[in-house]
Point group: C2
DNA sequence: CGCTTCTTTCAGAAATTTGTGAAGTTAAGG
DNA sequence: CCTTAACTTCACAAATTTCTGAAAGAAGCG
């Protein structure tokens, strides 16, 4: 089965090549935005799978990477809550799943990041002096991030509503 | 002047050491969020300067880096619109300035990034087939980013208002 | 015009990051 | 229990990135 003619499916895409093309190009964007290469590729592969889930072996085959690389990449993604791990009961085999909305909730949950920025800025304000020009600038910056923090939560709430009306609210 | 006692200013901070401490710790956060090290450090230094602007030489001295590193870092920051360059007329010496609000407008202007993601996702939808499960998932993701796009603009508008009432609208 | 002062570019050394093979660990199933 | 299938960890080689010194390029100023 190494023929290049009709491939698996000509009707709506889904031949190995067009999937791979998308995976690599989307992963490249994620990399450019600061994600590491392997996590990005793994994530893109999951996103473009029909089930939204793949096993270690499947990932390794599609991306041509070692089990070790899959393991590392998946661990990162799980830590970031961008994928979740499942085990089909009664098998040591794991599947990694991208949970519909879960992942962009995670993406917007730069919350942790924002919190750390805020904390660093707060220290900056006190250590440089709240009454100095630099201190005032940082206090304003801090206020901005606090504002954003709150806004993002509200935005995600609006998204859930918007989504329901547009896609007929899946869970 | 290498004494460690009274330093330059004991009233509100602003001795070289506490500035540097803040700079490095804030830069570290930026790095963790994906920014390269030099740009991050340069940016943090500018942010914590009283004038909000420094020359090449000042940056080099505070951060202990070569002129080449300053040049590279500053170029990156300028491309991202996080700092602007000024020249005091009649001198080849340049100053790099963090423009109050300009920079977080830039930060939220991941607009370019979002656009590229959207375009990649769009290609994904057509290439995988809009009627496949994977295609639908990606279409929804795409919708999410389009939604975010719009929301961010609105959020920044609200911020400007919020800011005026809180800080007495500077330009 | 040529000197001087800044900035930028470039090639390369040093450090860091990345991905792999191989060994190690855990649990399912005989 | 022992075997086997899966995932994880680890040390290291390769690739990439990062920063520097040196040279080159502009632009003010005499």
């Amino acid at each position: 089965m190494t023929d290049t003619s009709g491939a698996t499916d000509t009707s709506g895409g889904r031949d190995a090549e067009s999937v791979s093309k998308f995976v690599e190009s989307f992963a490249a964007q994620l990399v450019e935005a600061g994600m590491q290469r392997m996590p990005a590729r793994i994530f893109a592969a999951l996103l473009s799978s029909d089930e939204g889930a793949m096993t270690s072996v499947e990932l390794g085959e599609q991306l041509r990477i070692s089990p070790a690389a899959v393991s590392g990449g998946v661990r990162y993604l799980a830590q970031q809550h961008m994928v979740s791990r499942e085990r089909e009961p009664g098998s040591r085999r794991e599947r990694y799943r991208v949970q519909g909305n879960q992942w962009y909730e995670a993406l917007t949950n730069r919350e942790a990041v924002l919190k750390r920025w805020e904390s660093a800025l707060g220290e900056g304000v006190t250590s440089l002096g709240a009454d100095t020009p630099a201190g005032r600038r940082m206090a304003e910056t801090l206020a901005f991030f606090e504002f954003v923090d709150g806004e993002i939560a509200a935005m995600m709430e609006r998204w859930r509503v918007h989504r329901e009306t547009r896609f007929g609210g899946a869970p």
